[in-house]
Protein backbone atom coordinates (compact mmCIF):
# COMPACT_ATOMS: atom_id res chain seq x y z
CA UNK A 1 0.00 0.00 0.00
CA UNK A 2 1.29 3.49 -0.80
CA UNK A 3 1.75 6.12 1.84
CA UNK A 4 -0.85 8.81 1.43
CA UNK A 5 1.58 11.62 0.77
CA UNK A 6 4.71 11.01 -1.24
CA UNK A 7 7.57 13.22 -0.28
CA UNK A 8 10.67 14.25 -2.08
CA UNK A 9 13.37 11.65 -1.40
CA UNK A 10 15.83 12.89 1.18
CA UNK A 11 19.47 13.19 0.20
CA UNK A 12 20.47 12.99 3.82
CA UNK A 13 22.06 9.90 5.31
CA UNK A 14 20.80 8.08 8.33
CA UNK A 15 22.63 7.90 11.64
CA UNK A 16 21.28 5.21 13.94
CA UNK A 17 22.04 5.72 17.62
CA UNK A 18 21.97 2.55 19.68
CA UNK A 19 21.93 2.82 23.47
CA UNK A 20 22.66 -0.36 25.38
CA UNK A 21 23.22 -1.60 28.89
CA UNK A 22 26.97 -1.58 28.25
CA UNK A 23 27.56 1.45 26.07
CA UNK A 24 26.46 3.14 22.86
CA UNK A 25 27.10 2.46 19.20
CA UNK A 26 26.54 4.62 16.13
CA UNK A 27 25.69 3.12 12.75
CA UNK A 28 26.32 5.41 9.81
CA UNK A 29 24.32 4.48 6.72
CA UNK A 30 25.06 5.05 3.08
CA UNK A 31 22.55 6.92 0.95
CA UNK A 32 20.72 3.72 0.06
CA UNK A 33 20.59 2.54 3.70
CA UNK A 34 22.19 -0.75 2.67
CA UNK A 35 25.68 -0.45 4.10
CA UNK A 36 26.36 0.59 7.65
CA UNK A 37 29.57 1.67 9.28
CA UNK A 38 29.76 0.86 12.96
CA UNK A 39 31.28 3.44 15.30
CA UNK A 40 31.72 2.43 18.91
CA UNK A 41 31.60 1.60 21.64
CA UNK A 42 31.05 4.94 23.28
CA UNK A 43 30.91 4.85 27.10
CA UNK A 44 31.87 1.17 27.22
CA UNK A 45 30.50 -0.39 30.38
CA UNK A 46 28.12 2.46 31.11
CA UNK A 47 24.37 1.99 30.96
CA UNK A 48 23.09 4.30 28.23
CA UNK A 49 19.38 4.79 28.72
CA UNK A 50 18.73 7.17 25.84
CA UNK A 51 20.85 8.84 23.19
CA UNK A 52 19.32 11.64 21.14
CA UNK A 53 20.59 13.99 18.42
CA UNK A 54 19.19 17.52 18.42
CA UNK A 55 17.35 17.89 15.12
CA UNK A 56 17.56 21.68 15.45
CA UNK A 57 21.32 21.84 14.94
CA UNK A 58 22.19 18.33 13.78
CA UNK A 59 25.28 18.12 15.98
CA UNK A 60 24.32 18.26 19.67
CA UNK A 61 23.98 14.82 21.20
CA UNK A 62 22.75 14.09 24.69
CA UNK A 63 23.31 10.73 26.36
CA UNK A 64 21.59 9.70 29.58
CA UNK A 65 24.08 7.41 31.30
CA UNK A 66 24.62 5.67 34.57
CA UNK A 67 26.58 2.73 35.87
CA UNK A 68 25.58 0.00 38.24
CA UNK A 69 27.40 1.76 41.07
CA UNK A 70 28.05 5.43 40.44
CA UNK A 71 25.47 8.16 40.35
CA UNK A 72 23.97 9.08 36.97
CA UNK A 73 25.63 11.37 34.46
CA UNK A 74 24.27 13.27 31.51
CA UNK A 75 26.80 13.51 28.72
CA UNK A 76 26.82 16.11 25.94
CA UNK A 77 28.56 16.25 22.62
CA UNK A 78 28.61 19.36 20.46
CA UNK A 79 30.30 17.59 17.54
CA UNK A 80 27.99 14.65 16.96
CA UNK A 81 29.84 12.27 19.24
CA UNK A 82 33.50 12.96 18.53
CA UNK A 83 34.01 14.49 21.97
CA UNK A 84 31.89 14.44 25.12
CA UNK A 85 31.52 16.62 28.18
CA UNK A 86 29.60 15.91 31.34
CA UNK A 87 26.63 18.17 32.11
CA UNK A 88 27.55 20.65 34.84
CA UNK A 89 24.27 20.16 36.70
CA UNK A 90 22.45 16.96 35.69
CA UNK A 91 18.80 16.32 36.53
CA UNK A 92 18.49 16.04 40.31
CA UNK A 93 15.71 16.64 42.80
CA UNK A 94 15.82 19.48 45.29
CA UNK A 95 17.56 18.73 48.56
CA UNK A 96 15.15 18.24 51.42
CA UNK A 97 16.57 19.32 54.77
CA UNK A 98 16.74 16.89 57.66
CA UNK A 99 13.63 17.05 59.82
CA UNK A 100 11.42 18.36 57.03
CA UNK A 101 7.68 18.52 57.78
CA UNK A 102 5.86 15.23 57.59
CA UNK A 103 9.07 13.26 57.66
CA UNK A 104 9.61 14.07 53.98
CA UNK A 105 12.61 12.25 52.59
CA UNK A 106 14.29 13.80 49.63
CA UNK A 107 14.00 12.00 46.32
CA UNK A 108 17.05 10.83 44.41
CA UNK A 109 17.32 10.54 40.64
CA UNK A 110 18.49 7.02 39.90
CA UNK A 111 18.91 7.76 36.21
CA UNK A 112 17.61 9.91 33.42
CA UNK A 113 15.44 7.70 31.27
CA UNK A 114 14.08 9.89 28.49
CA UNK A 115 15.38 12.89 26.53
CA UNK A 116 13.32 15.16 24.29
CA UNK A 117 14.61 18.19 22.36
CA UNK A 118 12.47 21.27 22.89
CA UNK A 119 10.42 23.20 20.37
CA UNK A 120 12.05 24.36 17.14
CA UNK A 121 11.59 27.96 18.27
CA UNK A 122 13.52 27.31 21.50
CA UNK A 123 17.04 26.21 20.62
CA UNK A 124 18.85 24.89 23.66
CA UNK A 125 15.69 23.75 25.42
CA UNK A 126 15.53 20.05 26.32
CA UNK A 127 13.29 17.99 28.55
CA UNK A 128 14.34 14.95 30.56
CA UNK A 129 12.22 12.30 32.26
CA UNK A 130 13.82 10.41 35.11
CA UNK A 131 13.49 7.31 37.24
CA UNK A 132 11.91 7.71 39.74
CA UNK A 133 9.39 10.07 38.16
CA UNK A 134 10.68 13.56 37.58
CA UNK A 135 10.50 16.06 34.76
CA UNK A 136 13.47 18.36 34.19
CA UNK A 137 14.15 21.17 31.75
CA UNK A 138 17.34 22.63 30.36
CA UNK A 139 17.64 25.91 28.51
CA UNK A 140 21.34 25.65 27.70
CA UNK A 141 21.54 22.59 25.53
CA UNK A 142 21.55 20.11 28.37
CA UNK A 143 24.41 21.53 30.44
CA UNK A 144 22.29 22.50 33.45
CA UNK A 145 18.83 21.24 34.44
CA UNK A 146 16.00 22.47 36.64
CA UNK A 147 13.10 20.44 37.98
CA UNK A 148 9.63 21.25 36.66
CA UNK A 149 8.06 21.91 40.05
CA UNK A 150 4.54 22.12 38.66
CA UNK A 151 4.77 18.37 38.19
CA UNK A 152 7.52 17.15 40.48
CA UNK A 153 6.25 18.91 43.59
CA UNK A 154 2.51 18.96 42.97
CA UNK A 155 0.85 17.06 45.86
CA UNK A 156 -1.63 15.30 43.59
CA UNK A 157 1.06 14.24 41.19
CA UNK A 158 3.29 13.09 44.02
CA UNK A 159 0.49 10.73 45.03
CA UNK A 160 -0.07 9.47 41.49
CA UNK A 161 3.66 8.96 40.99
CA UNK A 162 3.83 6.64 43.99
CA UNK A 163 7.14 5.44 45.33
CA UNK A 164 10.08 3.57 43.87
CA UNK A 165 8.08 0.33 44.05
CA UNK A 166 5.27 1.68 41.86
CA UNK A 167 6.82 1.28 38.49
CA UNK A 168 8.57 -1.07 36.14
CA UNK A 169 10.91 -3.77 37.49
CA UNK A 170 13.70 -1.29 36.73
CA UNK A 171 11.96 1.52 38.59
CA UNK A 172 9.27 4.08 37.72
CA UNK A 173 9.85 5.81 34.39
CA UNK A 174 8.75 9.26 33.26
CA UNK A 175 8.81 9.01 29.48
CA UNK A 176 7.25 10.10 26.19
CA UNK A 177 7.83 13.80 26.80
CA UNK A 178 6.25 15.37 23.72
CA UNK A 179 6.34 18.99 22.55
CA UNK A 180 3.53 20.03 20.21
CA UNK A 181 5.26 21.27 17.05
CA UNK A 182 2.64 24.08 16.80
CA UNK A 183 2.95 25.33 20.37
CA UNK A 184 6.03 25.25 22.59
CA UNK A 185 3.85 25.48 25.70
CA UNK A 186 1.80 22.40 24.87
CA UNK A 187 3.39 19.28 26.34
CA UNK A 188 2.46 15.66 26.93
CA UNK A 189 4.17 12.99 29.01
CA UNK A 190 3.66 9.46 30.24
CA UNK A 191 4.46 7.85 33.56
CA UNK A 192 4.92 4.11 34.06
CA UNK A 193 2.97 3.91 36.11
CA UNK A 194 0.97 7.09 36.62
CA UNK A 195 -0.87 7.83 33.38
CA UNK A 196 -0.69 10.22 30.46
CA UNK A 197 -0.72 13.95 31.17
CA UNK A 198 -0.95 17.25 29.34
CA UNK A 199 0.25 20.77 30.03
CA UNK A 200 -0.84 23.89 28.17
CA UNK A 201 1.49 26.27 29.98
CA UNK A 202 4.98 24.89 29.38
CA UNK A 203 4.80 22.49 32.31
CA UNK A 204 3.60 24.81 35.06
CA UNK A 205 0.34 22.91 35.46
CA UNK A 206 -0.73 19.45 34.29
CA UNK A 207 -3.90 17.43 33.91
CA UNK A 208 -4.46 13.72 33.32
CA UNK A 209 -5.52 12.37 29.93
CA UNK A 210 -6.68 8.88 30.84
CA UNK A 211 -10.32 8.66 29.72
CA UNK A 212 -10.94 5.46 27.81
CA UNK A 213 -7.71 3.79 28.91
CA UNK A 214 -8.07 0.43 30.58
CA UNK A 215 -6.16 -0.81 33.60
CA UNK A 216 -5.31 -4.27 34.85
CA UNK A 217 -8.48 -6.27 35.47
CA UNK A 218 -9.94 -5.81 38.89
CA UNK A 219 -8.53 -2.33 39.45
CA UNK A 220 -10.26 1.04 39.26
CA UNK A 221 -9.58 2.90 36.01
CA UNK A 222 -10.50 6.20 37.66
CA UNK A 223 -7.35 5.90 39.77
CA UNK A 224 -4.64 7.75 37.84
CA UNK A 225 -1.84 5.83 39.51
CA UNK A 226 -3.14 2.56 38.06
CA UNK A 227 -2.50 3.64 34.48
CA UNK A 228 0.60 2.43 32.71
CA UNK A 229 1.31 3.99 29.32
CA UNK A 230 4.34 2.36 27.76
CA UNK A 231 4.96 4.71 24.86
CA UNK A 232 3.03 7.74 23.59
CA UNK A 233 3.65 9.32 20.19
CA UNK A 234 2.30 12.44 18.51
CA UNK A 235 1.87 12.38 14.73
CA UNK A 236 3.96 15.08 13.03
CA UNK A 237 1.57 14.84 10.07
CA UNK A 238 -1.35 15.73 12.31
CA UNK A 239 -0.33 16.98 15.75
CA UNK A 240 -3.92 16.55 16.95
CA UNK A 241 -3.48 12.79 16.80
CA UNK A 242 -1.73 10.69 19.43
CA UNK A 243 -1.07 6.98 19.50
CA UNK A 244 -0.19 4.99 22.55
CA UNK A 245 1.08 1.51 23.38
CA UNK A 246 -0.18 0.91 26.88
CA UNK A 247 0.24 -1.94 29.37
CA UNK A 248 -3.40 -2.63 28.53
CA UNK A 249 -3.62 -2.21 24.78
CA UNK A 250 -3.03 0.09 21.82
CA UNK A 251 -4.90 3.38 21.71
CA UNK A 252 -5.51 6.46 19.55
CA UNK A 253 -6.61 9.90 20.69
CA UNK A 254 -7.80 12.67 18.36
CA UNK A 255 -7.74 16.10 19.95
CA UNK A 256 -9.47 18.16 21.06
CA UNK A 257 -11.17 14.96 22.19
CA UNK A 258 -10.04 13.53 25.49
CA UNK A 259 -11.14 9.90 25.20
CA UNK A 260 -8.69 7.28 24.00
CA UNK A 261 -10.00 4.58 21.66
CA UNK A 262 -8.60 1.06 22.01
CA UNK A 263 -7.61 0.47 18.39
CA UNK A 264 -5.67 -2.61 19.47
CA UNK A 265 -9.01 -4.38 19.70
CA UNK A 266 -8.68 -4.81 15.92
CA UNK A 267 -5.41 -6.70 16.22
CA UNK A 268 -5.61 -10.47 15.58
CA UNK A 269 -6.92 -12.13 18.72
CA UNK A 270 -4.07 -14.64 18.71
CA UNK A 271 -1.57 -11.77 18.79
CA UNK A 272 -3.24 -9.29 21.09
CA UNK A 273 -2.21 -5.69 21.57
CA UNK A 274 0.41 -5.76 24.29
CA UNK A 275 3.92 -4.44 23.84
CA UNK A 276 6.23 -1.53 24.57
CA UNK A 277 7.13 0.60 21.53
CA UNK A 278 4.89 2.66 19.24
CA UNK A 279 6.09 4.30 16.04
CA UNK A 280 4.15 6.85 13.99
CA UNK A 281 4.69 7.76 10.36
CA UNK A 282 6.42 11.13 9.92
CA UNK A 283 3.72 12.53 7.58
CA UNK A 284 0.79 10.10 7.35
CA UNK A 285 -1.16 10.23 10.61
CA UNK A 286 -3.14 7.12 9.68
CA UNK A 287 0.00 4.97 9.68
CA UNK A 288 1.60 3.57 12.83
CA UNK A 289 3.59 0.51 13.85
CA UNK A 290 3.73 -1.65 16.95
CA UNK A 291 5.73 -4.68 17.99
CA UNK A 292 3.42 -7.00 19.91
CA UNK A 293 4.72 -9.15 22.72
CA UNK A 294 3.30 -11.83 24.96
CA UNK A 295 1.31 -10.25 27.78
CA UNK A 296 -0.22 -13.40 29.18
CA UNK A 297 0.09 -14.90 32.65
CA UNK A 298 3.40 -13.69 34.11
CA UNK A 299 3.93 -11.33 31.20
CA UNK A 300 6.78 -13.02 29.30
CA UNK A 301 7.25 -9.85 27.21
CA UNK A 302 8.76 -11.76 24.30
CA UNK A 303 7.54 -12.26 20.76
CA UNK A 304 4.42 -14.40 20.61
CA UNK A 305 5.28 -18.06 20.04
CA UNK A 306 8.85 -17.01 19.25
CA UNK A 307 7.78 -15.54 15.89
CA UNK A 308 8.69 -11.85 15.78
CA UNK A 309 6.65 -9.42 13.71
CA UNK A 310 5.79 -5.77 13.53
CA UNK A 311 2.21 -4.79 12.85
CA UNK A 312 1.20 -1.74 10.84
CA UNK A 313 -2.05 0.12 10.50
CA UNK A 314 -2.63 2.34 7.48
CA UNK A 315 -6.05 3.58 8.53
CA UNK A 316 -5.70 4.87 12.05
CA UNK A 317 -6.14 1.49 13.68
CA UNK A 318 -9.20 0.11 11.91
CA UNK A 319 -7.14 -2.75 10.49
CA UNK A 320 -3.64 -4.11 11.07
CA UNK A 321 -1.23 -6.06 8.86
CA UNK A 322 1.56 -8.38 9.96
CA UNK A 323 5.09 -7.45 8.80
CA UNK A 324 7.58 -10.25 9.35
CA UNK A 325 9.32 -10.77 6.02
CA UNK A 326 13.00 -11.32 6.70
CA UNK A 327 12.54 -11.90 10.41
CA UNK A 328 13.15 -15.37 11.92
CA UNK A 329 10.21 -17.71 11.46
CA UNK A 330 10.57 -19.49 14.77
CA UNK A 331 12.48 -19.68 18.04
CA UNK A 332 13.24 -15.96 18.18
CA UNK A 333 12.22 -14.75 21.61
CA UNK A 334 12.72 -11.04 21.25
CA UNK A 335 11.93 -8.27 23.67
CA UNK A 336 11.87 -4.74 22.24
CA UNK A 337 11.83 -1.98 24.82
CA UNK A 338 9.72 1.15 24.54
CA UNK A 339 12.56 3.34 23.26
CA UNK A 340 14.01 0.66 20.99
CA UNK A 341 11.85 1.07 17.87
CA UNK A 342 11.87 4.16 15.69
CA UNK A 343 11.86 5.56 12.16
CA UNK A 344 14.28 7.70 10.19
CA UNK A 345 11.89 10.19 8.63
CA UNK A 346 12.90 9.33 5.08
CA UNK A 347 10.64 8.41 2.20
CA UNK A 348 10.00 5.52 2.14
CA UNK A 349 10.21 5.41 5.89
CA UNK A 350 13.03 3.35 7.38
CA UNK A 351 12.11 1.45 10.53
CA UNK A 352 14.62 0.29 13.15
CA UNK A 353 14.27 -1.91 16.19
CA UNK A 354 16.69 -3.26 18.75
CA UNK A 355 16.24 -6.33 20.92
CA UNK A 356 17.32 -7.02 24.45
CA UNK A 357 19.36 -9.89 22.97
CA UNK A 358 21.50 -7.33 21.16
CA UNK A 359 20.24 -7.49 17.60
CA UNK A 360 19.47 -4.42 15.49
CA UNK A 361 16.98 -4.82 12.65
CA UNK A 362 15.81 -2.40 9.99
CA UNK A 363 13.38 -2.11 7.14
CA UNK A 364 14.00 0.35 4.34
CA UNK A 365 10.49 0.01 2.94
CA UNK A 366 8.13 0.78 5.80
CA UNK A 367 8.19 -2.70 7.27
CA UNK A 368 7.63 -4.79 4.16
CA UNK A 369 10.99 -6.54 4.57
CA UNK A 370 13.41 -6.60 7.48
CA UNK A 371 17.15 -7.18 7.61
CA UNK A 372 19.53 -7.57 10.52
CA UNK A 373 21.96 -4.62 10.75
CA UNK A 374 23.98 -5.81 13.72
CA UNK A 375 24.03 -8.61 16.22
CA UNK A 376 25.97 -9.53 19.34
CA UNK A 377 25.51 -6.10 20.86
CA UNK A 378 24.71 -5.79 24.56
CA UNK A 379 21.11 -5.50 25.71
CA UNK A 380 19.58 -2.71 23.63
CA UNK A 381 17.75 -0.05 25.62
CA UNK A 382 17.02 2.57 22.97
CA UNK A 383 17.30 3.16 19.23
CA UNK A 384 17.02 6.55 17.59
CA UNK A 385 17.52 7.42 13.93
CA UNK A 386 18.53 10.86 12.68
CA UNK A 387 19.08 12.38 9.26
CA UNK A 388 22.52 13.95 8.92
Amino acid sequence: MQAKSRRKPSAKKVLVLVATRKGAWFLHGDAARRKWRVDGPHFLGHIVHHLVLDPRDGRTLLAATSTGHLGPALMRSLDRGRTWQEAKRPPAFDKVPEGAPGGEKGRVVNHTFWLTPGHASQPGVWYAGTSPHGLFRSTDGGDTWEGCRGLNDDPGYREWMGGPQDGTPDGPKLHSVIVDPRDADHLYLGMSSGGVHESLDAGRTWRPLIDGLEVVEGFDASQVSMHDPHCVRLCPGNPDRLYQQNHCGIYRLDRPGTRWERIGAKMPRSVGDIGFPMVVHPTDADTAWVFPMDGSMVWPRVTLAGKPAAYVTRNGGRTWQRQDQGMPKSHAWWTVKRQAMTHDGRDPVGLYLGTTSGELWMSGNEGKRWTCMARHLPEIYAVEAALV
Binding site: G68, H69, L70, G71, A73, E86, K95, G106, V108
Partner: protein, 85 residues
Protein backbone atom coordinates in the same frame (compact mmCIF):
# COMPACT_ATOMS: atom_id res chain seq x y z
CA UNK B 1 45.62 14.95 52.51
CA UNK B 2 45.91 11.97 50.22
CA UNK B 3 42.74 10.54 48.71
CA UNK B 4 42.66 7.14 47.02
CA UNK B 5 40.33 7.11 44.02
CA UNK B 6 38.57 3.93 42.82
CA UNK B 7 39.01 2.85 39.22
CA UNK B 8 35.47 3.80 38.07
CA UNK B 9 36.30 7.43 38.90
CA UNK B 10 39.71 7.55 37.19
CA UNK B 11 38.02 9.18 34.20
CA UNK B 12 37.92 12.29 36.41
CA UNK B 13 41.32 12.20 38.07
CA UNK B 14 43.47 10.06 35.74
CA UNK B 15 45.50 8.95 38.77
CA UNK B 16 44.74 6.69 41.72
CA UNK B 17 45.92 9.09 44.38
CA UNK B 18 45.18 12.81 44.57
CA UNK B 19 45.60 15.59 47.10
CA UNK B 20 42.57 17.38 48.51
CA UNK B 21 41.75 19.59 51.48
CA UNK B 22 38.85 19.90 53.89
CA UNK B 23 38.03 19.99 57.59
CA UNK B 24 35.20 17.53 57.05
CA UNK B 25 34.48 14.76 54.59
CA UNK B 26 31.92 17.00 52.91
CA UNK B 27 34.47 19.78 52.50
CA UNK B 28 37.01 17.34 51.16
CA UNK B 29 34.55 16.06 48.54
CA UNK B 30 33.74 19.64 47.57
CA UNK B 31 37.43 20.30 47.06
CA UNK B 32 37.65 17.17 44.93
CA UNK B 33 34.70 18.42 42.88
CA UNK B 34 36.41 21.78 42.42
CA UNK B 35 39.44 20.01 41.03
CA UNK B 36 37.54 17.35 39.11
CA UNK B 37 34.09 18.74 38.21
CA UNK B 38 31.28 16.22 38.47
CA UNK B 39 33.07 13.66 40.62
CA UNK B 40 31.11 14.45 43.80
CA UNK B 41 27.69 13.75 42.26
CA UNK B 42 28.83 10.31 41.17
CA UNK B 43 29.53 9.49 44.85
CA UNK B 44 27.03 11.66 46.76
CA UNK B 45 23.39 12.06 45.83
CA UNK B 46 21.33 15.27 45.80
CA UNK B 47 20.25 14.61 49.39
CA UNK B 48 23.90 14.67 50.47
CA UNK B 49 23.95 10.96 51.20
CA UNK B 50 26.72 8.61 50.16
CA UNK B 51 25.45 6.50 47.26
CA UNK B 52 24.72 2.83 48.02
CA UNK B 53 27.80 1.30 46.42
CA UNK B 54 30.30 3.87 47.64
CA UNK B 55 32.38 3.37 50.75
CA UNK B 56 34.66 5.94 52.35
CA UNK B 57 37.37 4.99 54.81
CA UNK B 58 39.43 7.43 56.89
CA UNK B 59 42.60 5.92 58.30
CA UNK B 60 41.08 2.51 57.72
CA UNK B 61 37.76 3.22 59.45
CA UNK B 62 34.55 3.44 57.44
CA UNK B 63 32.72 6.76 57.74
CA UNK B 64 29.10 7.36 56.77
CA UNK B 65 28.49 11.07 57.31
CA UNK B 66 29.68 14.05 55.33
CA UNK B 67 30.13 15.93 58.62
CA UNK B 68 32.91 13.54 59.67
CA UNK B 69 35.83 15.72 60.86
CA UNK B 70 39.14 15.28 59.08
CA UNK B 71 42.62 16.26 60.12
CA UNK B 72 45.66 17.07 58.00
CA UNK B 73 47.54 13.87 57.38
CA UNK B 74 44.45 11.66 57.40
CA UNK B 75 44.38 9.05 54.65
CA UNK B 76 41.10 8.87 52.81
CA UNK B 77 40.18 5.89 50.71
CA UNK B 78 37.15 5.94 48.43
CA UNK B 79 36.11 2.41 47.53
CA UNK B 80 33.59 1.13 45.07
CA UNK B 81 31.63 -1.92 46.20
CA UNK B 82 31.45 -3.66 42.85
CA UNK B 83 28.80 -6.28 42.15
CA UNK B 84 26.54 -7.52 39.38
CA UNK B 85 27.20 -8.29 35.76
Amino acid sequence: MKVLIPSPLLSYTSVREVEARGATLGALLSDLDRQFPGIRFRMINEQDRIRPHMRVFVNGEQVMELGQPLAPGDAVQIIQALSGG
